[in-house]
Symmetry: C2
C-alpha cells in the first residue's frame, strides 16, 4: 500500500508541555495503541505524564524504539528551536521523526542534515505521498464501513477506533483506516485525504482501503461532512473512493450550526443518511446506514439515555455514544442485516 | 481577484510544430481571443500558421507584446531543449512566459535566472496560487451560469466561451471564468481547480466568481462530471463553490461510457440534471438547468437536427450544438425564466 507508513514502537515526545489537553496526539496514541508506545520524553520543565517510562534517546534506541512521535502541539503548530537538540540527537541515532505540524520537517536544516547522515526518515503525516492515482471506479474485494458526519469534529475518528476495537474483541477481521493526520499517527499508516490534490482525491480514497479478504472490514475514518460548506467535496471524494457497504453517521448532541460557520444550520441526521445513501450508491449499490454515533458529552448525564432512545426510535437504527456505550449494538445490527441479506441471496438461488 | 493573471497582448509560440492539431492552445486563443493575439513565432522547421504576423522577440517587444504564450504541446508535455534560446531571449527582453506544460518553468535554470534578471514572470497555469481560502458558504452578489458534463471532454469550455460571446453580442453583462489550464490561457485569468488541494477546492471555486453587479453573469467553465468515477469530487467542489443560478449540461452525442473508463456507463442527461439540481440547492436554492449543449460532430450531418429536436422535446429545454447553432435559444429561455421569476416576485409583494 502506497500510503504513509510509521515504524513502531514509539517514543512519544512531549517537549516542555505542562497541560495534557495540548498533548492530544500523545494521549490518543496511548489510548488507542498502548502496545506501540514504549516511552515518553519530556524536556526540562515539561510535566505531562502519559504513564510511560521516561527515556533518553539512548535508552529508546536500546529498547528497540523505531520512531520519535511528536505528541504535542506547540503554539502556532511549529517546531520550536528548543526541541531541535533532542530531535537531532534522535535522528542521528537512527530514529524516524514523525510529526503533523505546519513546518515541514525536511525544511529544518539540522534535521535534514541529520537525516541524510543516519538514513532515519522525517515523516510528515500532513504530506500525501507523490504519484497518487486517479480514481478507477473499480469494485474491490472485502467490506468497508465509513464514518460520515453532520459536521467536522463530531467524533468520526474515535467512533472508527472504538468500532475497530469492538470488532476485534468480537473476533471480526477488521482494520482502522486513517484519513487524517492524528488518525495516521494512531494507525501507523494512512493518507491525509484533505491534503491531496483534488484530481487524485477519489484515487487516494481508493488506495486507503485496498482489496482484502471477503470477511474483512476496513473501518474508515471520515472527513468533513457531505453538507459542509467548506469540506463537502473532500467528503464526496472519500465516499466515492471508499465505496462503503455500510456507514455510521457521527454527530455531537446539541450542535446546531457548523462549527466555525455559525450562520449555517447543520443538516439533520436523517438528511445525512439520505444524501450519503444516494451519493454512495454511485460506487456501491448495497450501501446502507447501520447506526448513529453521538458525542453526548455536552448533555446533562440524566438526559443522555432518553436522547439516544428517542433518536434510535426516530431513525430506526442503533444510536450510541461509542466512548460510553461501546458499539456492540451497531455491530449486532450489521450482523443481522448481513445474515438477512445472505438469506435473501440463498432464497434467490 | 487572487487568481492567476496573464498580461496581454500575446506572442503565440509554436516551436517546430508542423501539425495544427498539436497547437490547440494557440488555435483556441486565436479563435476566442483574436484581439489579444498580436503575433506568432515559429522556430526553424515549424510550419503551423495561425494567421498572425511572424515576429522575433525584438519585434514583439516593439509591438507592445507582454507575454509569450506557449501555444503547442511538445511530446511528453515538456519544454524541449531546442525552445530554450528563444524563451530565454524573451524573458530577458521582459516578456512573461505562460505555459501549461508538465515541467515547472521555474525549475528550468536558464529561465529562472533570466526571470530574476529582467523581472519578467514565469506563469505556470497548472499551479494554483498559494494561500487559497477554505469555502465560506456565503452568498455572493451577481449571477452565475455553470457548465456541467456527462463526462470530461464533452465541450464544457467551448460551450462557456460561446455563451459568453453570444451574451455579449446581445448586450448582456457577462464574463467567462476559467477553471482549467487552456481556459485560463484563453481568459487571461482563472484558477486550475483540479490542481487545488482538496481542503481548498470549494474556496477556490468561490474565488473564481467573486461578488459582482446584480445584472452580471459569470459563465463558469466546468470540470469533470458529477457522476465521474475519478473526478466527481472536483465537480462537486466547483458546483458548491460556484453557487450557480443556472447550469447547462454538456454532452457528446454517441458517447456511452466514460472516456478512459470504458467499462462504466455514462449517466443520462436527465440524471445529470436531477443530481446537479439536488446538490446545487445546497449552495443556491434557485438553481435550474437552462439547456443542453451537445457536441454533434460524431453524428451524420442529416441526423443532427432530429437528434437535438428529440432531446429537446424529451428534456423540455433548448438543446443546441453551440459551435453550429450558437446558444441564443438557451439565452432566450434564461430571459423568459428570469422574467417569470421576476413576475412571481412582484405578485408576492
Amino acid at each position: 500500500m502506497k500510503a504513509i507508513e510509521i515504524r513502531a514502537p514509539y517514543l512519544i515526545f512531549l517537549g516542555r508541555e505542562t497541560q495534557l489537553t495540548y498533548a492530544k496526539t500523545g494521549s490518543g496514541l496511548v489510548q488507542w495503541r498502548a502496545e506501540l508506545c514504549k516511552g515518553q520524553m519530556n524536556l526540562e520543565g515539561g510535566t505531562v505524564d502519559l504513564g510511560l517510562p521516561q527515556m533518553t534517546v539512548a535508552e529508546a534506541k536500546a529498547a528497540g524504539i523505531q520512531s520519535l512521535v511528536i505528541g504535542t502541539a506547540a503554539v502556532g503548530g511549529e517546531i520550536p528551536e528548543e526541541w531541535l537538540d533532542a530531535l537531532e540527537e534522535a535522528v542521528l541515532a537512527g530514529l524516524d521523526i514523525v510529526a503533523g505540524v505546519h513546518t515541514r520537517l525536511c525544511d529544518i536544516e539540522r534535521l535534514a542534515a541529520a537525516s541524510s547522515k543516519s538514513g532515519a526518515r522525517l515523516v510528515d503525516v500532513r504530506i500525501p505521498p507523490a504519484r497518487l492515482p486517479v480514481g478507477s471506479g473499480k469494485k474491490r474485494t472485502g467490506k468497508r464501513l465509513l464514518m460520515v458526519g453532520t459536521d467536522c469534529a463530531v467524533g468520526k475518528k474515535y467512533t472508527a477506533l472504538q468500532m475497530e476495537k469492538d470488532m476485534k474483541r468480537l473476533g471480526w477481521n477488521a482494520d482502522f483506516r486513517a484519513s487524517g493526520q492524528t488518525g495516521i499517527m494512531i494507525a501507523g499508516h494512512g493518507l491525509p485525504i484533505d491534503s491531496v490534490v483534488s484530481d487524485f482525491l477519489v484515487g487516494a480514497a481508493e488506495l486507503l482501503s485496498p482489496d482484502n479478504s471477503d470477511d474483512h472490514w476496513d473501518v474508515i475514518e471520515g472527513q468533513g461532512g457531505i453538507f459542509h460548506p467548506g469540506y463537502c467535496a473532500v467528503s464526496m471524494g472519500l465516499l466515492i473512493g471508499s465505496q462503503p457497504d455500510a456507514f455510521v453517521v457521527c454527530h455531537e448532541a446539541g450542535r446546531e450550526t457548523f462549527a466555525g460557520w455559525e450562520g449555517l444550520a447543520l443538516p439533520s441526521i436523517q438528511d445525512v443518511i439520505e444524501r450519503t445513501t444516494l451519493l454512495g450508491q454511485q460506487a456501491n449499490s448495497n450501501i446502507a446506514c447501520v447506526g448513529v454515533s453521538v458525542n453526548t458529552s455536552g448533555l446533562p448525564a440524566d438526559e443522555r439515555e432518553a436522547y439516544l432512545a428517542e433518536l434510535s426510535s426516530r431513525i430506526g437504527l442503533p444510536c450510541v455514544d461509542p466512548l460510553i456505550d461501546g458499539t456492540d449494538s451497531i455491530l449486532a445490527h450489521m450482523s443481522a442485516a448481513e445474515a438477512s441479506r445472505d438469506l435473501t441471496g440463498s432464497k434467490d438461488q
